[in-house]
Amino acid sequence: MLQILTPEGELVGDPPVDIPMTRRLYRAMVAARLYDRKATSIQKQGRLATYAPFEGQEAAQVGSAAVLSPDDWMVATYRDAAAMWMQGYPWELLLAGRTGHERGGSPPDHVNVLPPSITVGAHMLHAVGLAWAERMQGTDRIAITYFGDGATSEGDFHEAMNFAAVFRTGTVFLCQNNHYAISMGIEGQMATETIAQKAGAYGIPGVRVDGNDLFAIYRATSDAVERARRGNGPTLIEAVTYRLGPHTTSDDPTRYRLEEEVEQWRPRDPLERVRRYLETNQAWDEEWQKLIEGEEGAVVERAVQLAESLSAPDVDDLFDSMFAEPTSDLENQRRLLETEGG
């Protein structure tokens, strides 16, 4: 398992980025954590539908997304808000999806990030097609897809890996092994030691990294992205991490895991080790921490306001969003809705 920065903040390998960049990524992780906690808390107030927290997985998401070019494709899940935000998906739209507003699925024009996938597994194939199409069109854009340990059990994972391998598409498969798929622990999900070894079934490289280590994940993803961009095909990355919170705000993790297990993972927090490293390098102090928390917190607050100020989609929006031009069937139904006064 690749590790560069230990939980104690000590280097055991070459850092892939310099101190200023490390500060930027640390700040991004802080922002992500603030967002995640804010979302969790407003969900408790009933302002969001169920929310899927990612606390503990910030490094896996921020460290991997950081290596992408701005116009690379990303296809991720309901738990990957931090990665999506890194690639330009605004917090307010990520929240809008959770307030129950369709605008949440519609990132700005230059952002090549698909709306978060709620279905488990299917979206990995999309990242294969996206990368393939980019090659056909002569660009060097690649596609990264995020998914969980549970998603590896779906048939679509297999088909996506195989297509990517056979057609050597520029796809990076980033699996966050957070040890659980809702209540199902990884040992009930598969009979292998690792997820990375599944790459062998497709003839592509598989790497296993400490997913709570910003540097390790950055390094592995940057190698994979490089390989993909050069036309050398896909890579499977297993980022070994842990979901510290519940599956979603409706989940009660005490039903399936012991508090001791969670406690074992807390010291491996992905933010803390970078903070220590920065501190050792005189690149972190309390004051800066307060500053970035203040600034990023304000951005998140504004995002909440923006998301909550969106007015609900009206009937025409619903009927006009199915096709480029509504079909005659839909036009008939729209008229019916009017007469039924629905």
């Binding site: 059990s153 809702i182 199915m322």
Partner: protein, 325 residues
């Protein structure tokens, strides 16, 4: 006798079946340790253990395909799909294998299994969590498709479904899981599959529906009663088989009908109900049969879902149309 919600009645049915028959087992994502995302299998893992309450990997085709094999080999699996919107990866197994094996082997092999799926909207859930695509299963030969709307029916129909020698898709209306309660007999009892039930008798118009929409139907009946319209409310309970006789008998009496479902309109099961009514009772109709349905669109998210899921008001308006003629 205990007062149970619909969700609890299903738990009770599962418990009863597991207790009575060693061949019965429950398999699905998160059905075991955590008791299911709706807690419908609460306590069963502790009582029956991991060999019979099986937490499956996240793979719907795997769940249905292996449950199918188990059924062929003599077990009575109950497979849970976490939400109807996640049944599609298993669709091939259902269409191409579960519904076919008796036919293709001329009774030599059979698949007595139940596929449980929470379905339907109205609770502002996330994408894919509000699906009501029962008509695609109704169009699948070799499987029965049933939908209880009361705790009593839920228990009795599930026990019957588990006993059925053929595969049964058992749809559970999410919206009613905890919103309805009633007294339920302890121990086993059966409610036959394939028979509709008149929930409220009436004379002027027939409202035909099933599942969660029975609740809107009841509200509509109450509103109509205030307006002096006597509506008969029918709960189909089963769409395959479809109890056309009960429906036609009512429509012959009332001469007017409204079919209600939250599924998309085009090729929804309502079309089948209308087609059969007019085949049998065209000349009893005073007005076109109306359909009150979801639209041909993705079920909207929370903020706009109310424009999609049929309401009592829309049903009342549709009844009004039938009364114009």
């Amino acid at each position: 006798m205990a007062v149970l919600t619909l969700a609890q009645a299903i738990t009770d049915a599962l418990d009863t079946a597991l207790d009575q028959d060693d061949r019965v087992l429950l398999m699905g994502e998160d059905v075991g340790k955590t008791g299911g995302v709706f807690r419908v299998s609460n306590g069963l893992y502790e009582k029956y253990g991991s060999a019979r309450i099986i937490d499956a990997p996240v793979a719907e085709s795997g769940i249905i395909g292996t449950a199918f094999g188990m059924a062929v080999a003599g077990m009575r699996p109950v497979a849970e799909i976490q939400f109807m919107g996640f049944s599609y990866p298993a669709y091939d197994q259902i269409v191409s294998h579960v519904g076919r094996i008796r036919n293709r082997s001329r009774h030599r092999f059979t698949a007595p299994m139940v596929i449980r799926m929470p379905y339907g909207g109205g609770i502002g859930a996330a994408e894919h969590h509000s699906e009501s695509t029962e008509s695609i299963y109704a169009h699948t030969p070799g499987v029965k498709v049933v939908v209880p709307s009361t705790p009593y029916d839920a228990k009795g129909m599930l026990l019957q479904a588990i006993d059925d020698p053929d595969p049964v898709i058992f749809l559970e209306p999410i919206r009613l899981y905890r919103s309805v309660k009633e007294e339920i007999p302890d121990g086993p009892y059966r409610v036959p599959l394939g028979l509709a039930r008149v929930l409220v008798p009436g004379d002027d118009v027939t409202i035909i529906t099933y599942g969660a929409m029975t609740a809107e139907g009841r509200k509509a009946v109450a509103i109509l009663a205030q307006e002096g319209v006597s509506a008969e409310l029918i709960d189909l309970r089963s769409i395959v088989p479809f109890d056309v006789d009960t429906v036609v008998e009512s429509v012959e009496k009332t001469g007017r009908a409204v079919v209600v479902h939250e599924a998309h309109r085009t090729a929804g099961f309502g079309a089948e109900v209308v087609a059969q009514i007019q085949e049998r009772a065209l000349f009893s109709l005073f007005a076109p049969v109306q359909r009150v349905t979801g639209w041909d669109m993705i079920v909207p998210l929370k903020l706009a879902e109310h424009h999609y899921v049929p309401t009592a008001d829309r049903i009342v308006a549709a009844v009004g149309k039938t009364l114009e003629d």
